[in-house]
């Protein structure tokens, strides 16, 4: 009897968790009107704002030139590019210096002299030098659309303080995990972030994010101790009531690549999870005005850990239902969490189809098979990253594990 009640409670909890996650994942597709509202409003050609675009680059001499040259193709009258290099990284600094020489009007180099380097420190080094009214952040391997700034400028009309553009991993064909990784981005930027923007609590993305310079300076820039400085900035700004606009347009997204090894993915995910954990413990989100927002914050920041938990418990739950000699009604109930899980697979397949259509990529039947079969294994990787994050945070290991980039999306994209 006790075990039956326990099973029912566990199943109900797991069911609610995965159903809620699924529902939020599908936010953008709830009605045609919501989907329409997630796009950039077409630009009217009036350019009212000036932009300072920050591009931190660390050991990225191979891709930096391509990225900056592509950024310089931007069709916008008033913007500057600040390339941030480390004082201990002469190769990248050399590429950056040459670019500044070639384009003295638009490219400047800022040197980060911190003894221990990380991304927030680099960004903070450049903040005092920004001349534009809006600061934008890109990564050294980003592939930015020339019309992006015009659209962002338009999105800032009204009272927006922050505009988050879409970021999309493109190289879904590279490996089984990159397929899932691409879809994760698709769901996050295409759909879930819009929910966060409408609810007034948003963990921002790491790039293609634009903040009014004065707002950013008032907030004290980025948190140099945090491993997820982007998420932290979003949480701090939304806790202070900043208005965030999210816009996604497949033509306008910033294209990126997935980590080139599974271990790379694990490290990247560990860093994010640890960052989420840090943001959770900083408790800035407690200043959010409504209970609903605070609950959403709690839930979102602990998602990696809940996901790891359910990833482990759902299979156990099913195994117990099949082999645990429970009453049939109880066993039937313990299958409930599988329902949203299977529905998630179906929606992922449909999203993959949509992803292929929007980006003009050919998705073959084999990719759907990989998507489904890879699901449980990907879940294992995520769970491992979550555990690793807890472990590292507990041990006080807060070093920055950088993701290496090889430029797989550059041949793919454009």
């Amino acid at each position: 009897m006790v075990s039956s009640i326990f099973m029912l409670l566990v199943s109900a909890t797991l069911f609610c968790m995965s159903a809620l996650t699924l529902w939020w994942m599908l936010h953008a597709w709830r009605t045609p009107e919501i989907l329409e509202g997630t796009r950039f409003v077409p630009s009217d050609g009036a350019h009212s704002l000036s932009f300072s675009l920050l591009v931190p680059a660390r050991h990225e001499q191979e891709v930096l030139r391509h990225t900056i040259e592509r950024l310089l193709e931007t069709d916008y009258p008033d913007y500057e590019i600040l390339v941030i290099v480390g004082h201990d990284d002469p190769e990248t600094a050399e590429v950056a210096a040459r670019l500044a020489e070639e384009h003295p009007e638009q490219v400047r180099v800022v040197t980060d002299t911190h003894a221990v380097k990380n991304k927030p420190k680099a960004l903070n080094s450049a903040l005092p030098h920004c001349r534009g009214r809006v600061v934008g952040v890109f990564d050294a391997e980003d592939h930015v659309h020339p019309d992006l700034l015009s659209h962002v400028d338009h999105a800032f009309r009204g009272d927006a303080d922050v505009v988050q553009g879409g970021v999309q991993l493109i190289n879904f064909h590279s490996s089984w995990y990159s397929l899932r990784n691409c879809l994760e981005y698709f769901f996050w930027f295409r759909s879930r972030l819009h929910l966060h923007a409408s609810r007034g609590f948003i963990p921002l993305g790491g790039n293609t994010v634009f903040v009014r310079t004065e707002v950013l300076r008032q907030a004290g820039g980025w948190d140099e101790q945090c491993l997820a400085e982007d998420c932290d900035l979003g949480v701090r700004l939304s806790s202070q009531g900043a208005k965030v606009v999210v816009a996604y347009d497949s033509a306008m997204v910033t294209r990126e690549e997935t980590p080139d090894t599974l271990y790379g993915l694990l490290r990247q995910r560990t860093r994010w999870n640890q960052g989420f954990l840090q943001v959770y413990r900083k408790k800035d989100w407690k200043q959010l005005p409504t209970v609903r927002q605070r609950l959403l914050a709690r839930w979102t920041l602990s998602t990696p850990f809940l996901q790891a938990f359910s990833g482990v418990v759902i299979p156990l739950d099913v195994a117990l239902a099949l082999f645990g000699h429970l009453r049939v009604s109880v066993a039937l109930a313990s299958f409930l969490p599988v329902v949203p899980t299977l529905a998630t697979f179906a929606f992922e397949a449909v999203a993959l189809h949509d992803f292929g259509l929007q980006y003009g990529l050919r998705v073959r039947p084999w990719h759907y098979v990989k998507l489904i079969v890879g699901g449980p294994f990907y879940q294992v990787v995520l769970a491992a990253a979550a555990l690793r994050a807890v472990w590292r945070e507990g041990r006080g290991q807060r070093g920055w594990e950088l993701t290496r980039h090889v430029g797989a999306h550059l041949t793919e994209g454009a």
Partner: protein, 523 residues
Amino acid sequence: MTTVLDTLAGAATTEAPAPAAPSRRRRDLWTALAVTLPVLIVQAWNITGYPTVSDDEGTYLAQAWSVQHWHGLAPYTYWYDHPPLGWIQIAMLSWLPALFSSPAHVFTAEMRVVMIPVTAACCLLLFVLARRLGLARWAAGLGVLLFGLSPLSVGLQRELFLDNFAVLWILAALVLAASPRRHLWHHISSGLAAGAAVLSKETMLVALPALVLLLWQRSDRTTRKFSLVGFGSAFALTVAQYPLYALLKNELLPGTGHVSLWGGIAFQLGRAGSGSLLTSGTGSNQTLNSWLYYDHVLIVAGLAAAVAMVASRQLRAVACAVLLFTAVAVRPDAGYLPAMYIIQVLPFLALCIAATAQVLVRTGLHAFPRVGLRPVRWAAVGAVAVLAAGYVVPHWYEGDRTAVTADANAQYDRAVQWIRADIPDPARTRIVVDDAMWLDLVHDGFKPGTGVIWFYKVDLDPAVAHGFPKGWRSLDYIVSTPTLRQDPNSLPTVEQALTHSTVIASFGSGTNLIQIRKIDKSS
């Protein structure tokens, strides 16, 4: 053609998701209530007296009783004859008749009160569906009246049939699929409701393509993929609970010593066919004739209207539902056609007629606008309406009058009362009955399953027969009813019990005769 019909039907307004004005909604609500109320009055009046309690009602009710008392899904071994959601719903509503019940009638008839809220919900859903499909308020109301007042409906919707629950859920699914907001959640809910419909009565699966068509038409191009997948997963995962249940009980596939879902489905599909619907003299043909006897208007006019409405984009899904059910019934290798099959088509027939009426009225009033002649047009429409009503109303009045006055269960009532009063020591007595009076005797103190016994279980259920090593000599009484006498040759023990028994009480006459017979064990 399509555009002509749809413009005439005035159905072009359903695209915009604009919220309906409050006054419009209020008028809709009042109209829906105004047409639902007479349907409910006609259905509720004399619900215990007509029609004669059927064996199937007794079966479902006994299974509902079993669910309610934690005896599993059926009082005997559940053998996957139907998915169980229908009688689970009866069980959930079983508190309702207790508020009105009197011991005057056989319990199966008393329990029919649970069907009143089901019909009420069906009427309201049908009205909403009609409105969402673009029918005018009067036409939607007409649809509900046709659906609820046809003598065919009045008889069948009173009975505790699983099909009535399936209709409720499929209407809910259609209403949700036609939601003007096109919300993903509505489409997922539509899938859940369709799953509930199929789990209430598996034959509702026939309507699924029509539902999908409606969802396709009503979802937006940009979100359609997600809507269809949401609908599909919700439906599939709901229906999957049924085979999962069988799997957990290790009864999915046939094996020695246990029943199986596979076996249950194979039985239903392989059930001795009742012949072609259109060949006179066959079982199916007799069923068709009995439907036509109660009401040929809804069936004939509904079919004709459905054929016409295929041309209308707005009504195509509903018309398809009618044609699908028709095609399944008249297909050459048709299997067994149960009498309640028609229940699932009734709302769609009614809707097609109402839509056709609207098209005809609009054509009469608005075709050839240059001609003018308004009063003449109104007079013509009025005359046709009066003629139609003049043909239908007397016929339906006669049928419904029988429904609200006849006392078809008198002999059952009296037989049950007699057993209650005159058979001593029920706890230690074995009595063989048909399913319709089973629950009464359970309430009287007979032991469910082995004390009061469904007659065919004695021969067909090895678990039951095992309890009677002396065959018919182990039994004390047998109640001979029309159902029990239907097919004597297939049940040897029942046949012997009838032969070796004497009548101790008798009620009614002719084919409706009910005899209580004491078994002479010494013979």
